[in-house]
């Protein structure tokens, strides 16, 4: 019996080993003895770093601690989130507005923290919506999405949202080239070469973070994949990897792998600014939404804008240059000195490293090998610092430790490889579990990396954790990189599929003036009730506004009568608490909507259209006190046209009972 069991286990193990052929050898024993100690953060102790991880197809941003891997919070960004009422409350709905109307979901791929002088400054995190192209700014004082701007002329906002060293611009390169919004889009798909164009967006970031689509650059139709800004000596330049320079429109897995080399496109954005000043930009009519959160009214507004300035890369020769890069480049990363630009060909077995100085020399001396759609192509060798030979299979992304080392992920061979930027020699390699995509070193794409930890974000986790059905948790793995050898200290599951992530020292974030509660005196919500004496219910036609308050442990009012079927009822709930971490919730039976989650001092609104007569209970959804369960109330709904008078009360039985 026992023997049979062991055999069965062995067969399963063998089967799964074959199945996961991408699994590296010796994957089971790669953890050294003191790994647990290195990842252990005792109860009540704080982590060293915040890790802001993209939530991929969940559309959200998750916040983890390093090195514990503890999940602190999921911040809703591009997808509705019933936990926080995001996209369900009337105030948050405008945040998800686009030129296509309300869009309840998107695919958040990359995160990027704001920087000052090339160092992370703890003010904001930016995230990109891939599907319906947008960029969001998340405020790290409130851990709330503060702004979302849509991008016209784009499809699949992938190479985004990367930033310049003083957060002058956040950029966005379109993954799908498409006919511009200002051109006729009703064309045959196989006219890609003639009619499809790429647009790169430069979004200006103001002092308070407010975003503004400053200009776009139109390019030949290709797929832009990733990007990074220059820094230090290369400040003023931006680099974008592109694939499908074959300009195929079908079966790209074959047809976009025809050329031996695609490109990294170098963009001189300072030059672009000069051209804009000189009036070389062309105003084009487009339509895009710009959504802003107002901290005083606790309400978002959405504005539709109609114009964008476009510069033509083919006409203005010294804005863009193409650098040949082998085999469908994906990652495009700039080292802390700003001198080295690392390209990574998804299908390549080497890593090309370009030199900014050599690129400048090549441009100056016109070392071009021709042009691509009117854009000069620099000779490969003229810009090349060198190639890392045989580093692994399928290089994707590179981050830096600030000590002259680069760390590159390899999707196909499932490993992270450490190499020396100058000598291009491979120094160390560790297996990952399994196919690794992005990686993050705190500050690892800035001028000042905090080179202590490296986190790998994996796409596949077969057999790594207890199984949860056909779909398994994606995973992240933390490596200690403070020594010569990378050392695995912990892995932890993530939400969605993690793409890029950013991390910053904990104190930089928690001491940045974090909001503990909204001051009720500063609450300028148009339907605020500052105290129970302002609680009331008003009717105008079939619109009913309930000015409701909540405090441990009751609502005011908690009895409402005189509501009729078909009324549009707006519950404006003001949380009267003025203490850290005391939100209240609000839900009502049968609502075809979400709940509200209302922060201390905040007002939030739930729209409810009762469809049936009867008594409808409502209650607080967020445990708030020993008497939380008592935090409830009733709404009486009468037939349309009923003469039941509107009344409301708390603590008194109204209307007077009639015998």
């Amino acid at each position: 019996m026992k023997n049979k069991f062991v055999k069965a286990i062995f067969a399963i193990a063998l089967g799964s080993a074959l199945f996961t052929s991408c699994k590296p050898k010796n994957s089971g024993d790669a953890v050294s003895g003191d790994a647990a100690q290195k990842a252990y953060v005792a109860p009540g102790k704080y982590d060293e770093f915040y890790n802001f991880v993209s939530g991929g197809f969940s559309g959200q941003l998750s916040v983890y601690g390093l090195p514990s891997g503890r999940l602190f919070r999921v911040i809703p960004v591009f997808s509705v989130d019933p936990e926080k009422g995001w996209g369900y409350s009337e105030e948050t709905k405008p945040m998800l507005n686009t030129s296509n109307g309300f869009v309840p979901w998107d695919d958040l791929h990359h995160t990027e923290m704001s920087q000052t002088n090339g160092e992370v400054d703890g003010r904001w995190v930016f995230g990109n919506a891939n599907n319906t192209p947008r960029i969001a700014r998340i405020d790290l004082k409130t851990f709330k999405t503060a702004e979302i701007i849509e991008l016209p002329n784009s499809g699949g906002n992938h190479s985004s949202p990367f930033i310049t060293e003083n957060t002058e611009y956040v950029v966005a390169g379109t993954r799908f080239s498409v006919p511009a919004d200002y051109a006729n889009g009703d064309v045959a798909i196989n006219t890609y070469k003639e009619n499809f164009k790429g647009h790169i967006s430069f979004v200006k970031v103001g002092k308070e973070g407010e975003m503004d689509l400053a200009f776009q650059i139109v390019t030949p139709g290709v797929n832009f994949d990733l990007s990074h800004a220059g820094k230090g000596k290369s400040h003023g330049w931006f680099f974008f990897s592109c694939y499908n320079t074959e300009q195929a429109n079908t079966l790209l897995e074959v047809n976009a792998s025809q050329r031996d080399k695609d490109f990294i496109m170098a963009v001189n954005w300072k030059k672009a600014e000069e051209y804009i000043k000189a009036g070389k930009g062309k105003k084009q009519t487009v339509k895009y939404a710009h959504n802003k959160w107002n901290e005083k009214t606790h309400t978002a507004t959405s504005e539709i804008k109609n114009e964008v300035l476009v510069l033509d890369a083919a006409a203005l020769k010294d804005i863009c240059y193409m650098i040949p890069c082998p085999k469908s480049p994906h990652g495009c990363d700039v080292d802390p000195t700003g001198e080295y630009i690392v390209g990574s060909g998804k299908l390549a077995a080497l890593i090309p490293v370009f030199s900014f100085d050599k690129l400048m020399g090549a441009i100056k001396n016109k070392k071009f090998e021709g042009d691509y759609g009117g854009i000069n192509v620099v000779k490969y060798e003229a810009a090349l610092h060198g190639e890392v030979q045989k580093p692994g299979l399928g290089p994707l992304h590179t981050e830096f430790d600030g000590r002259g080392n680069a760390y590159t992920t390899f999707f196909v061979s499932s490993e992270v490889v450490k190499w020396d930027i100058k000598s291009l020699k491979v120094l160390d390699r560790v297996p990952t579990y399994y196919s690794v995509g992005h990686l993050c070193i705190p500050g690892g794409d800035s001028k000042k990396p905090f080179g202590k930890y490296l986190i790998a974000y994996n796409k596949i986790t077969k057999d790594r954790y207890l199984p949860t059905g056909p779909e398994l948790a994606q995973s992240a793995q933390i490596f200690d990189i403070s020594g010569d050898k990378m050392e695995l200290v912990l892995d932890f599951p993530t939400i969605g599929e993690p793409h890029y992530a950013q991390a910053a020292p904990a104190d930089l974030i928690r001491n940045n003036g974090q909001l503990k509660f909204y001051k009720i005196a500063d609450n300028n919500h148009p339907f605020v009730a500052k105290g129970e004496k302002e609680a009331k219910v008003t009717r105008k036609g079939n619109r009913v506004d309930v000015y409701m308050t909540s405090i441990r442990s009751h609502f005011a009012p908690d009895n409402i009568e005189g509501i009729k079927v078909g009324d549009e009822v707006y519950f404006h709930v003001t949380n009267l608490e003025q203490d850290w971490d005391v939100p209240h919730g609000f839900a009502i039976k049968g609502a075809d909507n979400g709940e509200l989650l209302i922060m201390p001092g905040e007002t939030a609104t739930l729209k409810w259209v009762p469809k049936k007569t009867g008594i409808w209970p409502m209650y607080c959804t967020d445990f708030c006190s020993a008497l939380h369960q008592e935090m409830q109330g009733y709404v009486r709904v009468s037939p349309a046209g009923s003469s039941v008078p509107l009344s409301w009360s708390v603590g008194t039985n109204l209307p007077k009972a009639t015998k």
């Binding site: 001491n511 105290g531 441990r552 003025q578 203490d579």
Partner: protein, 160 residues
């Protein structure tokens, strides 16, 4: 015990260093666990007459300051009267009638601005908690707010 104290001290120093000017405005020491921890090391120092907090002596006028009482009534309407009646009837918390006769002014001002440590230590507050079962929330009152509310309580207790 000593170690705990040192840790708490180190921690509060850490916070203090990182704090920016703007933060102090919103920063509320009562809600900070480290502050509780520091004082929790020495419960014998608790003065049940004065309570615990920044107020040591509060000067009261012989007569009521009507303007202050009016301001106090306004603030109470937003932050207090959801849970406290002006009579002696308990709502969520005890009614306010007679509170200024039962408690020293310092105690009242300390309690309403710094409730958490006092709920943990004051024997009478703990007895009250057994009845109400809801910890009085820290409502983020400013010093002026607290003084005005005290005056409003005095008015409620018949001071003219």
């Amino acid at each position: 015990m000593k170690k705990l104290f040192l840790t708490a001290l180190a921690f509060s120093l850490l916070i203090a260093c990182g704090k920016k000017e703007k933060e102090t405005e919103e920063y509320n020491p009562a809600a900070d666990p480290s502050a509780t921890e520091t004082t929790a090391t020495d419960p014998s120092s608790y003065d049940p007459k004065r309570g615990e907090g920044k107020f040591t002596t509060v000067e009261l006028g012989a007569a009521l300051d009507q303007a202050m009482a009016t301001k106090g009534e306004e603030v109470s309407g937003v932050k207090c009267t959801s849970c406290h009646k002006m009579t002696d009837e308990k709502l969520v918390g005890p009614g306010w009638k007679g509170v200024t006769e039962r408690r020293k002014p310092e105690w009242i001002m300390n309690f309403i601005t710094n409730p958490d440590p006092m709920i943990d230590k004051d024997p009478e507050v703990q007895a009250q908690l057994e009845i109400c079962l809801v910890r009085m929330p820290n409502q983020g009152l400013s010093d002026d707010d607290a003084r005005h509310i005290l005056e409003y309580m005095r008015k409620n207790d018949g001071v003219k």
